[in-house]
């Protein structure tokens, strides 16, 4: 947390309510997203109950297992939920109109909302539970495909800027600064209550805290477990032991779990409406992030699922839920994440004054006054050059050879050629325009880079989007399998893993 964040917190205290963190919204709020909330039995990893559906459905579908430890009953509810998810995500083999590279439309982004990070983790648990396919098994069974989709969503949740899985609690914390500590905001009901409660700040704090007594995590309140659910589970076990059907008790268990699921669902819907009714516009860069999200979905999930449908039964690479077991896979994954990180800020900073100010404060961007404009091109070639006077206090990371964009012009690119110290307070930065050279750029004026009217203008330069280059490195890692040091970087898994998995990696390497 920066000093800037603390100043924002003080502003929030001043008005006794959350204040916007940025000038724009950095997430696409889909009109009718898919939503889900889970509950699980303490000590278990799989869900005991699920509430799911579309936001605009009259009510979510609430399904529960009689006993959260009963694998068959749990698999049954997971399968029902899984089929609905596969259809909503237009997964290959589960819809007549799957999302493909050809029909990809950012207006049709499939987006799933969950109440908090523990619910995101549930997708990882679901992957663990159902991903394994033995030789001869049908790998296109809904539960297995759903496990792979769950794994994809869990992995994707860690990629900065992704737009497919929204942790409602985090989305609120990213969009607003609260007059409260971060830890308490991990509970979505707390965060939502800040928008609902009235009164003086001290009273509001107390009432927000009281709202937070309702748990949002999938694990239930130990008191509820002890007083209500444990006796019911015991009754159920006794009935089964006596050879009787426990339908009535299971109904009671369902009735006890439903309000818990609905409370989590309700908080999530509240969070959605807070964000959907926010006056701020969606950042122009979000469209690019949505497109990137959908492209990744097509390449990293749909393409593999299409392969799974192939009747030949050839092995298809399936990511392991635990790790990649392979140096190259890890390196490629690292570069992909790094590219996402670079693309995120570079996409959004041009349309968000607050984010831009943050980049300046952290030294990732710089501000200066244009003092000279000249051309170093020879003959018909034009190479615009600028000299920019920068206050030293405003920068910290500026280096020769680095590329920047003029704020508001995401496609522009300038390169730092030289940095000269003028005095104790100022540097002279020589920049060369790489793109555009002849077209107009926008800022305080609209003019070509060589136009001398830029002189005297104070401008902000932000890091250039170099994500494409970083993403290429991800592929280069695989291509380097015959290069120097390949024995080290392309070694096989140091631990014993399933034979079929090794084969998949080898296959990926050889292709």
């Amino acid at each position: 947390m920066s000093t800037r964040d603390i100043v924002r917190q003080l502003e929030a205290v001043r008005i006794s309510q959350p204040v916007p963190r940025y000038s724009t919204l950095h997430v696409r709020i889909v009109e009718n997203p898919f939503m889900v909330a889970f509950v699980r039995m303490a000590g278990e990893s799989r869900p005991w109950g699920i509430a799911y559906g579309r936001l605009k459905d009259s009510a979510p579908r609430v399904i529960t297992a009689g006993d959260g430890r009963n694998r068959e009953a749990v698999a049954q509810i997971c399968e029902e939920f899984g089929v609905a998810m596969l259809q909503y995500f237009r997964a290959e083999g589960h819809t007549f109109n799957p999302i493909t590279k050809e029909n990809l439309d950012t207006k049709e982004l499939p987006q799933i909302w969950v109440p908090g990070d523990r619910h995101v983790e549930m997708f990882h648990h679901l992957e663990y539970a159902y991903w394994r396919v033995r030789k001869g098994d049908d790998r296109t069974q809904p539960l297995t495909v759903f496990a792979r989709l769950s794994g994809w969503l869990f992995r994707e949740s860690g990629r900065i800027g992704q737009q497919q899985i929204i942790d409602a609690s985090r989305a609120l914390r990213d969009a607003y600064v609260f007059p409260a500590d971060t830890l308490s905001l991990g509970n979505l009901t707390n965060a939502v209550a800040w928008f609902k409660k009235d009164g003086s700040l001290p009273n509001k704090r107390i009432s927000v805290r009281a709202s937070g007594e309702q748990r949002v995590s999938p694990t239930l309140d130990p008191g509820l477990d002890k007083d209500v659910l444990a006796p019911l589970i015991e009754q159920r076990a006794e009935l089964l032991k006596a050879g009787r059907t426990p339908t009535l008790v299971e109904q009671k268990i369902h009735e006890a779990l439903s309000p818990e699921l609905m409370a989590r669902w309700g908080s999530m819907v509240d969070a959605y409406h807070i964000l959907a009714s926010d006056n701020r516009a969606e950042n122009n860069g979000v469209e690019k992030l949505v497109k990137s999200t959908m492209e990744k979905y097509v390449v990293e999930f749909q393409r593999l699922e299409r392969g799974m449908l192939d009747p030949s039964g050839d092995p298809i690479f399936t990511p392991h839920p635990e790790t990649d077991f392979h140096g190259s896979a890890a390196a490629a994954g690292y570069f992909r994440m790094q590219a996402a990180d670079v693309a995120y800020t570079a996409s959004l900073v041009h349309d968000d004054a607050e984010l831009c100010a943050e980049a300046l404060a952290s030294g990732h961007a710089f501000m200066g006054e244009v003092t000279d404009v000249w051309n170093t091109g020879v003959g018909r070639v034009t190479i615009p050059n600028w000299q920019v006077k920068v206050r030293i206090g405003e920068i910290s990371r500026l280096r020769e050879g680095e590329d920047y964009s003029l704020v508001g012009n995401p496609k522009s690119k300038v390169s730092i050629r030289e940095v000269e110290v003028v005095d104790e307070e100022h540097w002279l930065v020589h920049i060369e325009w790489e793109s555009p050279k002849l077209k107009e750029i926008s800022g305080p004026i609209c003019a070509k880079p060589l136009d001398s009217s830029w002189i005297g203008k104070r401008l902000i330069f932000v890091p250039c989007d170099t994500s494409a280059l970083t993403a290429k490195q991800a592929q280069a890692v695989w291509d380097a399998k015959d290069g120097v040091g390949a024995w080290l970087t392309h070694g096989r898994a140091p631990v014993q893993v399933e034979e079929s998995f090794i084969d998949d990696i080898t296959q990926l390497q050889d292709n």
Binding site: M1, S2, R4, E44, E121, A180, T182, L183, E322, A357
Partner: protein, 363 residues
């Protein structure tokens, strides 16, 4: 009224829990007293009219017991296979000593004293009996920490320990069993560090216990231990072997020493006999040091937050804000942000920082 004579077996085995509770906020006097005097914070909160929240679900308790009993079933067959697979034990190892109390799923040990005696016998045999073939796995090894660490009692039960012969010496290695799922690189880092810290406490306690016995040929307490988790959604163990516990054990050593010192100091101050004092009342009226982390373990957290709100302390905005604002209240910080004249050097320095950050807002 809680008293010193109310020790039960359960309370005696809570030493590790009390230590870990204290470590979370050692600056808080109430927390220290609670750990030293073995009085639950939940009871103190209740006495002040706050509803305690922290308790364990019966399902979680059952799951933990089931997992342990599964690991140690049939002469510890399941855990042995896993330990052999990761190299903690050699293949075809044998011998299992179950020192768990019957109330905790053991078969033969009825009392704490019985467990302590059997544990002591094991150490002596390892030292003195050349023909002794020790068990390779011990469940529930029980230690009485010798230095009188923490009042009123310090007994520790080690989840699992293993014994191996190395260079003519017996080597004991400690393990910590947790039922939470190991999800490889995605495993909750907080859970791993908690488990590692707890194993470090075992390692340190075992070390000082063995040293205090003054044995002729004492076994070596290994500085590396292991963590036993579950494969997600199953009862299959996943063992993280070769966990270096050197620093965790050092942390435990320093922590125990400090806690012991605090305990002695408190007792000296309190000249009267403790049996005449309402311990809950004593804790309830001691100094507290409210932090965000208190919400993760302390039932007094709402009371301390109420006090912080009433005193307009920056901690209500979180740890980072508290670090920046220091002793300056939230309301005063807003005044400084609005350009009010600072009255101290601290306020002046804070105002410079706040205004610089605010100025960046208007770029």
């Amino acid at each position: 009224m809680a008293g010193l004579d109310e020790l039960t077996d359960e309370a005696r085995r809570n030493t590790r829990g009390r230590f870990e509770q204290w470590v979370k906020n050692p600056q808080c006097e109430a927390n220290t007293l609670s750990a030293v005097l073995n009085v639950k914070l939940a009871e103190v909160a209740l006495s002040l009219g706050y509803q305690p929240e922290y308790g364990q679900s019966p399902f979680a308790v059952t799951r933990g017991l089931q997992f342990e009993s599964w690991l140690f079933k049939d002469e510890a067959k399941v855990i042995r296979e896993s330990m052999e697979r990761v190299g903690i034990l050699e293949e075809n190892s044998s011998g299992f000593l179950d020192l768990r109390l019957t109330m905790n799923g053991g078969k033969n040990i009825k009392s704490v004293d019985d467990a302590l005696e059997k544990s002591l016998q094991l150490f002596v045999s390892l030292s003195d009996d050349k023909h002794f073939t020790p068990p390779t796995i011990i469940a529930g090894l029980m230690l009485k920490i010798p230095k009188g660490v923490m009042l009123p009692e310090a007994t520790l039960i080690i989840d699992v320990a293993s014994i191996q012969r190395l260079d003519q010496k017996w080597v004991i290695r400690v393990g910590e069993i947790k039922v939470f799922p190991d999800r490889g690189g995605h495993t909750d880092t907080g859970e791993i560090s908690t488990a590692r810290a707890q194993a470090g406490v075992y390692q340190h306690a075992l070390q000082i216990t063995v040293e205090s016995l003054d044995l002729r040929n004492p076994p070596i307490v290994s500085t590396s231990g292991y963590l036993v988790f579950t494969w997600p959604g199953t009862n299959s163990p996943v063992i993280r072997a070769n966990e270096d516990l050197t620093y965790q054990a050092r942390r435990a050593a320093v922590g125990f020493d400090r806690l012991d010192g605090v305990a002695q100091e408190l007792m000296t101050k309190q000249a009267q006999n403790l049996s005449g004092i309402d311990l809950k009342d004593w804790i309830a009226h001691s100094k507290t040091e409210y932090k965000e982390i208190c919400w993760s373990f302390c039932d007094l957290a709402p009371r301390c937050q109420d006090l912080a709100i009433a005193e307009d302390r920056a901690i209500v905005l979180g740890t980072e804000a508290s670090k920046l604002l220091g002793s300056v209240g939230v309301g005063r910080a807003i005044e400084l942000l609005d350009g009010f004249e600072p009255s101290t050097e601290i306020e002046r320095a804070l105002q410079v920082q706040l205004l610089a950050a605010k100025g960046e807002n208007s770029t």
